[in-house]
């Protein structure tokens, strides 16, 4: 099953290496990992999407917690709102252009660049939504694609960062 972990870490040099090294060394699969600043300059937040059964997930969380620079780990799979951004460059001759614009409208994607041969689409949404658009665009010829990986935050009153 796919899980979303929110990992609050001390913003120290090498912390990303240590977290990613841990996953590599123990053979855990990472689907995506993002790391960014938070409202506190000394603390960063990682959102890690992983695949694993409950026993593997329990070990992941425990092993992450063992890292000295990891302050807290939460499995927020069921409570979080998650978003991803993708930029997709598609080949678009004149014939395909109107069809692509129609797809953009349905998916609420935006066209951020347009040249005679190519179009770059930007989409924000859940990973599943991005997957669906990607699949649809394959027929037109995806030239290049980049995705940010998920970032996630819990809904409602949860204020985990008050450490």
């Amino acid at each position: 099953m796919r899980h979303t972990l929110s990992v609050v870490v001390v913003n120290s040099p090498g912390v990303l290496t240590r977290v990613s090294g841990l996953f590599a060394r123990r053979g855990y699969n990472i689907e995506s990992l993002t790391v960014s600043a938070t409202q506190r300059s000394d603390i960063s937040r990682m959102t890690i999407v992983v695949e694993g059964d409950p026993a593997v997930l329990e070990q992941m969380v425990k092993q992450l917690n063992k890292l000295i620079d990891v302050i807290k780990v939460w499995d927020i799979t069921d409570t979080a709102l998650s978003r991803e951004l993708a930029l997709i460059k598609v080949a678009c001759g004149a014939a395909a252009r109107s069809q692509l614009l129609e797809i953009c409208r349905v998916y609420r994607a935006s066209v951020v660049d347009l040249s005679p041969e190519y179009m770059i689409l930007q989409i924000t949404g859940t990973s599943q939504k991005v997957d669906a658009l990607e699949e649809l665009l394959e027929a037109y010829g995806i030239v290049e694609l980049v995705r940010t990986g998920s970032v996630a935050l819990e809904r409602g009153a949860n204020r985990r960062m008050q450490l």
């Binding site: 001390v10 040099p13 290496t17 070990q59 917690n65 000295i68 990891v70 302050i71 807290k72």
Partner: protein
């Protein structure tokens, strides 16, 4: 605030934290540190290879219960430490490894003797840190010692660029560790303690399996009290040897694939197993021995060990001593101990040797071993009665560990050490005989020489149909002549030679006894209980 350089601040913190000896080998990137050590009055033991510095600090730590400290220069000095760091960390030994680094402005330029030490050590260290300023060093050193020695102990690397060690600053020695992500649990959860007590009250055949966690927590007294209160026999992992006296009527001896058959049989018969500070590693064979329905209670300082290999019925995380003391608040079941399997007498020549040796050795002797058949024989047959008196590389299985660990253990405690080694392992750190000769440590060596990498040879018998390859140690030196070259008394004898054993024990200084061991004398793993 006192004005001094980074290196002096490091030495000041070491002294303040009770470090009374360091082990190392200097180089260009640690010149300031060595100058500060000289002036700061912390004794230094010069090794001949940096891995031995880490092993010696590990032996010191395991014998004294204090963190061991080793020092190496940047580049190859630092990478030579790596095996020692991994060895210590795998066995949960508190070790602080200080490495020199190239000047901070040159980091990343691949200059002479530069290596990414924190990156290299991170996968098998409890923590790694690199100093970014001299003023940060007092707090960093305290954090390093704190992390190494608390919770589940482990190895911590502190990498110090040479310019930062030499830079002067106003040092603030009032700051303690500030580690928001590190909060080891001390007290076991009271509800879990109650659940364990309730399970113990139901149990007819309880058994305690004690590991190295009992020794690192200094918890042998409450362990013994609980075993006696419950009438529960105690089995030991290799790391746990010494946590419970071998001569105690409740002691079952060593578990595992090279353990005592009775210990494994008792594990299979128990209806409740109380695991105290053991990680249930693969060689312990607990996983394959417990019967379905046995209640498994797992007590450990490290939450990640619980449920890692085995389903646990009642987990409890905390300091083993605190948990065992809390458990003691339980009435005695008021019946004699259950009929667990009784003592067995092995006719194996190594068993006889270990029994005779134990009878001769002064009780304060610290035993260290290397890795191989001799290690398995010592662990299985040598009765260990005192805590922190049997020191072996159990997790990583590092050949060459024994001699440097014995030097560190003896220097740390002032007690005599005996290295039980084989001709293969011994040659991994032979040059440390010079360290020994110069150090003032009281170390004797028993070299069990079968002219081969005996355990690998045995494995080739078991798994490769007896096709031996790459295991014959042709070219072995005359170990006795070699010992004499380093100023040690030495003798060679047959395994059964009682007089030679007496000679070794009687020698006033360091000495070596080489025993001729027949090839093919096996360690004999247990396949089925």
């Amino acid at each position: 605030m006192p004005w001094m350089n980074g290196a002096q601040a490091v030495v000041k913190v070491l002294a303040e934290q009770g470090v009374d000896r360091v082990f190392g080998l200097p180089g260009g990137a640690v010149l300031s540190l060595y100058d500060a050590l000289r002036a700061g009055g912390i004794p230094h033991t010069l090794v001949r290879h940096e891995a031995a510095a880490a092993h010696a600090a590990s032996g010191y730590a395991r014998a004294t219960g204090k963190a061991g400290v080793c020092i190496a220069t940047s580049g190859p000095g630092a990478t030579n430490l790596l095996t020692g760091i991994a060895t210590a960390n795998m066995d949960s030994v508190p070790l602080v490894a200080i490495t020199g680094q190239v000047p901070s402005r040159l980091i990343g330029r691949d200059v002479f003797q530069e290596v990414d030490m924190t990156g290299a050590a991170a996968p098998f260290a409890k923590h790694v840190m690199q100093a970014r300023s001299a003023a940060a060093l007092p707090r960093m050193m305290r954090e390093a010692l704190h992390i190494a020695a608390t919770g589940r102990p482990g190895a911590v690397v502190v990498d110090i660029p040479s310019d930062i060690a030499a830079a002067e600053a106003n040092m603030d020695f009032t700051q303690g560790p500030e580690l928001p992500g590190y909060r080891p649990v001390f007290e076991g959860h009271p509800l879990q303690i109650k659940r364990i007590q309730a399970a113990l009250a139901q149990s007819r055949r309880p058994l305690i399996l004690a590991g190295g966690g009992v020794l690192s927590a200094g918890a042998w007294a409450p362990l013994r009290a609980l075993a006696e209160r419950l009438g529960a026999p105690v089995a030991l992992t290799m790391m746990g040897l010494g946590a419970f006296p071998a001569s105690h009527p409740l002691c079952l001896g060593l578990t595992g694939m090279h353990g005592a058959r009775r210990a494994m049989q008792a594990l299979a018969q128990a209806d409740l197993v109380l695991v105290a500070g053991a990680r249930l590693g693969d060689r312990g064979r607990v996983e394959h021995t417990l019967r379905p329905g046995t209640v498994l209670v797992h007590m450990d300082a490290d939450p990640a060990e619980i449920g890692k290999t085995l389903r646990t019925d009642i987990p409890v995380v905390g300091d083993i001593g605190a948990i065992l003391r809390a458990l003691l608040d339980i009435p005695s079941p008021g019946r004699p101990p259950w009929a667990f399997p009784g003592p067995e007498h092995s006719a194996h020549p190594a068993a006889s040797l270990m029994r005779r040796l134990a009878a001769l050795l002064p009780p304060e002797t610290i035993i260290t071993t290397d890795v191989g058949q001799h290690q398995l024989w010592a662990a299985r047959y040598l009765p260990v009665d005192h805590p922190r008196s049997f020191i072996t590389s159990g997790g990583l299985g590092t050949m060459g560990y024994g001699l440097p660990a014995a030097i560190g253990a003896s220097l740390g405690t002032g007690r005599p050490s005996l290295v039980i080694t084989g001709d293969g392992s011994f040659q991994m750190h032979l040059p440390e005989l010079a360290t020994l000769a110069a150090s003032g440590a009281q170390v004797k060596l028993l070299v069990m020489d079968n002219g081969s990498l005996g355990l690998v040879r045995e494995l080739q018998d078991e798994h490769q149909g007896g096709r031996h390859f790459g295991v014959s140690l042709d070219g072995n030196p005359d170990f006795c002549a070699l010992a004499r070259a380093y100023g040690l008394a030495s003798r060679s004898a047959a395994m059964e030679d009682q007089e030679a054993l007496e000679w070794l024990v009687r020698q006033p200084g360091c000495a070596l006894l080489r025993l001729a061991v027949p090839q093919g004398l096996d360690a004999q793993s247990i396949q089925e209980v």
